[in-house]
């Protein structure tokens, strides 16, 4: 089953190993004649496209991020300004720095909530569908997966409608006597609201929090939590991606040998114990994959902000990806926009490495096993 899935990140190691081993059947010398040229011809179109639209852009952008290019003429005619653009963002306090800090605060809360919750939702959906005697399994699987294949634009519009002030969500909340907020227009931070509920005066927050700044943003602003507007986007993201990751969990669950579950049952394990001791360990590689993909995807969030909010209300849905677009295309600060995207690139790499380290395989056997299964394919 897992063979059908494309090359997942965790399998790449194995793939690299098999690629470097060289051609599998050198023995047939006569037949491999002329393959050298053909091989290069076959990969040429893809190599050219990737060089032109992936490698070259990254290099061009790296140059722009250290130049004063204003968007007109060739970037090559621009002047070298050193690390000025990076300094404007990371160095001394400034408005640009404040915007970037705000975008990182926003995306940080977004990642912190979306990644765990979408993983849990995907796991629950998969567990539900993995039950042997479930009628209409195909129907439910289709239902849960459908949002994943739908365009982010269409989904965002639907959510805009559901979460408007007099929308369906607030109508449902009204059944329970809750007066729902004006979701996408509400900049109030959730953690601020909780602090307010605990007796902190929101109009006059503690001076030790407002008095200190970190990257041009007061401590008080850092601890705001996701705004209500951002929460709507968070719900959208969890709801949409849950189905994609559900399929990955489902595929992995079907690979768990039936007799392992039987053995657990015979040994008198409760369903909860069987779940924690058999299912969860067996799903470890899938957890790794789902969390990796989740992290990479969430850090880059752009579409929803572009469609729904453009960073509003009060910058609480601004994300680094959108900020880099805004700085370049809207404000004409191309160098700064490029610098923002490289900083984001670095952050994503660092977080991926940290996550790899935290979730690293303590047993090397399972990695070898994975390579073996890959090579068998």
């Amino acid at each position: 089953m897992s063979v059908d899935f494309g090359p997942s990140i965790e399998q790449n190691i194995g793939l690299a190993a098999s690629l470097s081993k060289g051609p599998p059947n050198n023995r047939k010398g006569a037949l491999t004649k002329g393959q050298g040229k053909a091989g290069w011809l076959f990969v040429a179109p893809s190599v050219v496209i990737i060089l032109l639209f992936l490698i070259l852009p990254v290099l061009a952008s790296l140059w722009v991020s250290v130049s004063d290019w204003s968007g007109k003429g060739s970037p090559l005619s621009a002047h070298w300004v050193g690390l000025k653009n990076y300094d404007a963002l990371l160095g001394k306090p400034s408005l640009s720095q404040k915007n970037m800090a705000t975008s990182y605060r926003n995306i940080f809360y977004y990642v912190l909530l979306v990644v765990p919750l979408q993983t849990i939702l995907a796991l629950i959906l998969a567990l539900v569908l993995n039950r042997q005697r479930l009628r209409g399994k195909g129907f439910f699987r289709t239902t849960f997966y459908f949002p994943s294949v739908t365009s982010s634009v269409a989904i965002s519009l639907v959510f805009l409608f559901l979460f408007q002030a007099s929308g369906a969500i607030n109508a449902i909340l009204a059944w329970f006597g809750i007066n729902g907020p004006n979701w996408f227009a509400d900049p109030r931070g959730v953690l601020h609201l909780i602090l307010g509920g605990l007796g902190v005066d929101l109009n006059n927050p503690p001076a030790w929090l407002t008095g200190h700044k970190f990257f041009s943003l007061t401590w008080w602003d850092w601890v705001a939590g996701p705004s209500i507007a951002m929460c709507s986007i968070i719900i959208l993201a969890i709801w949409t991606t849950g189905g994609t990751f559900m399929l990955m969990f489902l595929a992995a669950m079907q690979d768990i040998p039936e007799d392992m579950m039987e053995a657990a049952k015979v040994d008198g394990a409760t369903p909860w114990q069987a779940f924690m001791r058999v299912v969860v360990p067996a799903l470890k590689p899938t957890f790794f994959l789902v969390i990796t993909l989740g992290l990479i995807g969430t850090w880059q969030m752009f579409d929803q902000v572009f469609i729904l909010s453009q960073g509003a209300p009060q910058g609480t849905t601004l994300t680094p990806a959108y900020l880099s677009y805004q700085a370049s295309f809207k404000d004409g600060k191309w160098g700064q926009g490029a610098a923002i995207s490289f900083i984001l690139f670095a952050v994503i790499i660092v977080f991926s490495l940290v996550q790899r380290f935290v979730m690293r395989d303590k047993k090397t056997i399972s990695r070898r096993h994975r390579i073996a299964t890959w090579e068998k394919s």
């Binding site: 990140i9 393959q35 990969v43």
Partner: protein
């Protein structure tokens, strides 16, 4: 806030749904309740969307939870035909068809070369493709624009299509499939004197039909739903695709008022082609899910 609430509510019943769950009547009943709850959470937004697109503006705002219109109307669809919606639709079709055909062809060629052909630098190319898959796409937004402008294909169909023609994930889907095809099949063809391309085109590619279908579907879905690349590769309203055009609807480009029926109708129409393909090729979608997600 709401999300943590639901999260907590749901973990309870789901524990009983592990494969070893006792199959008591009570548990079974509770279990179906959970499934149906989730199905509603997933289906109802779409039902509401369909219903609302046949409503009048005041009706949509006043009865936002009722999927049935008080009076049925096609106003929203009529309005859409008056704006550029048909143009956006045509652009999306053109781009999607070109990208899908091109991508399947180029990815298969490269995948076959990586799987079967012996040439110097094969390992290096394969390794480079893997490294490329790790580059976050959003980092490329500005740089792609720079290159398109320099190449003089900014704001053209070429600029919208060519950068999407090859993708590393697709190449590996094909490679993986070709590796599994027995070598003997091609050897027979080669001994008969067929060229490398001929062998690939008439012998190997037809055998890879399942992989080709999977990749076609992924490409179709990916390019139909693509937004960010079209934002940076073109600006002229004549080149708006559905995603870009409909996205402008949300920021109120059509004037005052919330016009939810119009927005829902637009969202509905742009979903239909993907939905049709999805329902026909469900199994291939499921198969490609992993690879599709890699691309983000």
């Amino acid at each position: 806030m709401t999300s943590t609430l639901t999260g907590r509510k749901l973990t309870g019943p789901a524990d009983t749904s592990t494969p070893t769950a006792r199959r008591g009547i009570g548990v079974g009943w509770l279990f179906y309740l959970v499934v149906i709850f989730f199905a509603l959470v997933y289906l109802f937004p779409f039902i509401l969307q369909i219903g609302t697109s046949f409503k009048t503006d005041p009706d949509a705002t006043a009865h936002s939870l009722n999927p049935l219109p008080t009076t049925w109307t096609l106003d929203a669809f009529r309005q859409l035909s008056q704006v550029d919606f048909p143009l956006w639709f045509t652009n999306s079709v053109v781009v999607t068809v070109c990208v899908t055909l091109g991508r399947v062809f180029f990815d298969s060629l490269a995948g076959y070369a990586l799987a079967r052909l012996h040439f110097r630098g094969r390992a290096a190319i394969g390794g480079a493709f893997i490294a490329i898959m790790a580059v976050p796409g959003v980092v490329l937004l500005i740089p792609k624009y720079l290159v398109l402008v320099q190449l003089g294909i900014y704001d053209t169909y070429f600029g919208m299509i060519i950068p999407l023609l090859a993708d590393a994930a697709g190449i590996f889907i094909m490679r993986q499939f070709f590796v599994n095809i027995p070598v003997e099949v091609e050897e027979a063809a080669r001994i008969d004197g067929a060229s490398v391309f001929r062998t690939f085109w008439s012998v190997v590619l037809p055998m890879a039909r399942p992989a080709v279908i999977t990749l076609s579907i992924l490409s179709f879905q990916g390019s139909w739903n693509e937004l960010s690349h079209f934002i940076v590769s073109a600006q002229s309203p004549k080149l708006y695709t559905l995603t870009k055009g409909v996205a402008t609807l949300s920021s109120g480009a059509l004037g005052s008022g919330q016009q939810f029926p119009l927005k829902m109708a637009a969202a509905l129409l742009m979903t239909i082609p993907v939905a049709i393909v999805f329902f026909i090729f469900q199994r291939q979608f499921v198969r490609g899910a992993g690879a599709g997600a890699v691309k983000g």
